[in-house]
């Protein structure tokens, strides 16, 4: 596929992620920070986010699965996850975190478990989409083109 087509595809894909609410303006802030001195900035930050998230989801699953749930602990993990997802612009992941927090306050284990499932789904979805996006970027670069930015 030639560069122009790849670039259009990339822009359309990016736009769809924003339209579906998967990403918000904070992701664009990260894209705008990327420059020649740090051409992989977004991929690097998002990779850190993936690592962080996987650990948090693991810890959350254990914490919510306990006989006696330590809601303070659960809330602390969710607060962290909410923060990092917000920092990279993963809007729906962040919203899923907010939902868990409210059920933590109510000490509602079942609702927390349901929300955790939702959180995992949202995370999985945005992870896949971002990886697709990065692959598209790579194709553009390999074809000798520049990665366009969505206005």
């Amino acid at each position: 596929m030639e560069v122009g087509q790849l670039q259009r595809r990339f822009l359309e894909y990016t736009a769809s992620l924003f339209n579906q609410g998967l990403l918000d303006g904070q992701f664009q802030q990260l894209q705008q920070l990327q420059d020649e001195s740090n051409p992989d900035f977004v991929v690097e930050v998002v990779s850190l986010f993936f690592e962080d998230s996987e650990k948090l989801l693991h810890d959350l699953t254990i914490a919510i699965g306990q006989q006696t749930v330590d809601f303070k602990k659960v809330d602390a993990y969710v607060h962290q996850f909410k923060g990092s997802s917000s920092s990279i612009g993963a809007q729906r992941v962040r919203n899923a975190c907010i939902a868990i927090r409210s059920f933590c306050e109510e000490q509602n284990v079942e609702a927390c478990m349901r929300c955790l499932l939702q959180l995992k789904q949202e995370y999985s979805l945005v992870k896949d989409k971002l990886q697709d996006l990065f692959r598209l970027e790579q194709q553009i670069v390999e074809a000798g083109g520049a990665v366009p930015m969505l206005e």
């Binding site: 802030q29 690097e44 930050v45 850190l48 962080d52 917000s86």
Partner: protein
């Protein structure tokens, strides 16, 4: 602790217009540390990051068991920006320690938080924080900060 900046060359007492401001950024989140570092560097700051209040104090030479002498690190810090919610020592507690120290009480401290809680904000401002910023940080926030940094 990850130190991402080299030490600045010492200057004579009169401060340096040429030298970029040196900011100590404190946050327990690796993702946020990376972002705040890039934001600051984009606005021509030299950045040192610390993953906790304790590490920040260590860097400044302010930890309780360290000698209260001028550390070559801390003397070059022009601003401290710290997250509020951190395990162990909160950003507020770090702010207090900095403001209690004769060496660093003049260094502006900026507190960041993902939560917009007025009592929290007021508490920090009353304790001497220069500014309170809501996360996630944007380039426009850095612009504001940079304006602040140019004053000192």
């Amino acid at each position: 602790m990850d130190v991402s900046a080299s030490f600045s060359v010492s200057t004579d007492g009169n401060g340096s217009k040429q030298e970029p401001p040196h900011v100590l950024a404190v946050d327990d989140s690796l993702v946020d540390r990376k972002i705040v570092e890039k934001l600051l560097k984009t606005f021509s700051c030299k950045v040192t990051t610390a993953e906790s209040g304790m590490r920040a104090l260590e860097y400044l030479g302010l930890r309780d068991d360290q000698e209260n002498t001028l550390s070559s690190n801390g003397s070059k810090v022009n601003m401290i920006i710290t997250d509020y919610c951190m395990p162990g020592m909160t950003g507020y507690e770090l702010l207090k320690k900095v403001k209690e120290s004769s060496l660093f009480k003049e260094v502006p401290v900026v507190i960041m938080s993902s939560e917009n809680i007025p009592t929290r904000i007021n508490k920090c401002l009353e304790e001497g924080a220069e500014m309170f910023m809501l996360k996630p940080l944007k380039q426009s926030d850095m612009k504001k900060l940079r304006g602040q940094l140019l004053k000192c």
